[in-house]
Amino acid sequence: MRFFVEQLTFGLTNGAIYALIALGYTMVYGIIELINFAHGDIFTVGGFFGLTVIGLIGLDRAPAILLLPGLVLVFAVAMGLNGLLGVVIERVAYRPLRNAPRLAPLITAVGMSFVLEGILFLLKGPNQVSYPNLLPAGSINLGFASVGTAAVLIVLIAIALMVALSQFIRRTRIGRAMRATAQDRDAARLMGININRTIAITFFIGSALAAAGGIIYGFYFQTIAFDVGFRAGLVAFTAAVFGGIGNVVGAAIGGFVIGVIIALISGYFQGGAQWSDVVVFSILILTLVFRPTGLLGMRVPEK
């Protein structure tokens, strides 16, 4: 039981990170039907933004009382910067190709992924960079097992962000504009919605959430490297597809499910950790083949 709870906690914590990345994939896909291959690397950049802010304000050496406001500042600044990065990428690389043949933006997205990875590789080098863990170290005793406070906090932060996002999409004017644009871009434009601005905001939110995921990743694993976004991005994309691409709730659920699946395979099978990625990417292929709409997905017409 204790082992199961440990694995489950590990899975849910990882799942929270995957879910935060998956939201960006699914939002962008929902609105412009582009697989944003650069999103995994946007996640990594977000993690590094967080690390830079922590270093600048010296939060890892700050007294405990300043920790909470400091953390809020780190998240806010890194998420804002990363959101701007997403907007810039959309403006420079994707918008000019919005009406081009499908192959063009896809290849550009792969290119942007390598541009981001390449910049990080240049600046941060090939090795793991250590990340301070600013989350509390204790654990909560449940009687039959104990759960790390950090893990609980991470899952709570992620869920809070997801609830905020879904409320934003459901209740606000901009959220309504996003849904309308996703449904029918031309009709939305005729209704007076500024399409370019709506798409830019979508990229901003998606990238900001990825930054939150990147910082949490750093705290949890206490390390980050220029290329962690490649694998994490592919796993998160699997989560988005599994949950139903284009569907925000589906992406969140998919993230947690995939995270738990990886943790259980790694925990319960001999050498399972090596095979978990094979299983996850097989889930990706099988979902696309047998149920391309995923668990909760919308119907995606062939264009």
């Binding site: 039907e33 582009l34 697989i35 690389a93 000019p96 190709l97 081009a100 043949p101 499908r102 192959l103 063009a104 933006p105 896809l106 290849i107 550009t108 792969v110 290119g111 942007m112 992924s113 390598f114 541009v115 981001l116 990875e117 390449g118 910049i119 590789f121 240049l122 080098g125 090939p126 290329d227 490649f230 694998r231 592919l234 994309f237 699997t238 597809v241 050498g271 090596q274 095979w275 990625d277 094979v278 990417f281 097989s282 990706l284 292929i285 696309l288 083949v289 391309p292 995606v300 062939e302 264009k303």
Partner: protein, 386 residues
């Protein structure tokens, strides 16, 4: 097929007459002369290179040209984004390595395995493509990306069969019957490998060229341009796409076999997304999707940048900064930055080409001429694409 060829011949004649007007002399030979000269130069190249080191480089570069030619069928002609091209390369390499080495003491001849492993790769291409090619085009990209990640991991983890992380070492090398005083053993001599890949590439170029002009090739381009319209004219889009995908895969498997025997070993690390799939994609996109000459130039350029420029340049910069005594530059480790810039260069090429010059460095000049002469056969398809 004959209907398709008739206007092409007329075009050729008209072009020949244009050459004559420009004063190139005997028309037919003038047109082919550059290619004949190029092939002659390539045949004589090993004689000029006394220690065969450049021949060795060329023999490996040939693998990349072959890979780029194969991916060009998938991406350039059929317009399908295959991000898992390395998987088929790995399947070809490992098929050969397992069936022709001391791993299980099976030693099947290279000449049998060369087509066989291409066939195995093609089967995997069909198995992967058949269910997924019905889906949207961008799903294919992500499915192939996933497949490209799965295959090397399986090879790395299935240690009893594939040797795991250490791979398989001591792979058999091709043998020919003795001719002209040469005993026919390839061994570690790069020269026979060089001639082999040269022959393979030339045959491939003829083959792909004929394919492109065939009914199948025209169907690929029709699908790339407008899948709905292509289906409406009676093209079976799934089968046609599947053929492109499987053919591309078989080229990759073919190249893999050659690569494994040339290197004498296979390790799972050489088949990652970053090491193969993206590099070949960059070659195709840079050179010009759908244009074989462009793709070959792209392959040579990228191979040169990756294996020569990025390795030599840091040394030159370091010695230059040291010689000029520019202290702050020496401290900055410019050389290290240059060496680490390959990802950035690839990314800029991919995004930059698509945004600024989607037709690539060498857009099909031949088709431009065809357009000028008013034979719109195939020509329009290439201008709007990509």
């Amino acid at each position: 097929m004959s209907r398709g060829n008739a206007p092409r011949r007329r075009t050729l004649l008209e072009r020949l007459s244009r050459f004559e007007l420009r004063g190139f002399g005997a028309a037919g030979r003038a047109r082919n002369a550059p290619y004949v000269l190029l092939v002659l130069a390539l045949l004589l190249f090993p004689i000029l290179d006394s220690d065969s080191s450049q021949v060795n480089v060329a023999a490996v570069a040939g693998v990349w040209i072959l890979l780029a030619l194969g991916l060009n069928i998938v991406v350039g002609y059929a317009g399908l984004l295959d991000l898992g091209y390395a998987a088929f390369f790995a399947i070809g390499s490992y098929s050969f390595a397992i069936l022709a080495s001391g791993q299980f003491n099976i030693h099947i001849s290279f000449w049998i395995l060369l087509p066989l492993s291409a066939f195995i790769a093609a089967i995997f291409g069909v198995l992967l493509g058949a269910p997924t090619l019905r889906l949207r085009g961008d799903y294919l990209a992500i499915v192939t990306l996933g497949f490209g990640e799965i295959v090397p991991r399986v090879f790395r983890n299935a240690t009893p069969i594939t040797g795991g992380v250490n791979g398989i070492v001591g792979i058999d090398q091709p043998k020919l019957p003795p001719i002209l005083g040469w005993n026919g053993n390839f061994g570690f001599n790069p020269v026979p490998y060089y001639y082999l890949i040269l022959v393979i590439i030339i045959v491939s170029i003829f083959l792909i060229n004929n394919l492109r002009n065939s009914r199948l090739g025209r169907a690929w381009m029709a699908i790339r341009e407008d899948e709905v319209a292509a289906a409406a004219t009676g093209i079976n889009t799934v089968t046609t796409k599947l053929l492109a995908f499987a053919l591309g895969a078989s080229f990759s498997g073919f190249a893999g076999t050659y690569y494994a025997s040339k290197l004498f070993l296979v390790v799972p690390e050489s088949f990652s997304f970053q090491a193969v799939s993206v590099v070949v994609l960059v070659m195709v996109v840079l050179g010009g999707m759908g244009n074989m000459r462009g793709v070959i130039v792209g392959a040579i350029l990228i191979y040169f940048i990756q294996t020569y420029l990025l390795i030599q340049l840091p040394g030159w910069i370091t010695s230059a900064t040291a010689a000029l005594n520019i202290d702050f530059l020496t401290k900055l480790d410019v050389g290290g930055y240059v060496q680490r810039s390959n990802y950035l260069i690839f990314g800029i090429i991919l995004a930059g080409i698509m945004l600024l010059r989607p037709q690539g460095l060498i857009p099909s000049a031949q088709r431009k001429v065809e357009l000028e002469l008013g034979t719109t056969d195939e020509a329009v398809s290439d201008l709007g694409s990509a």
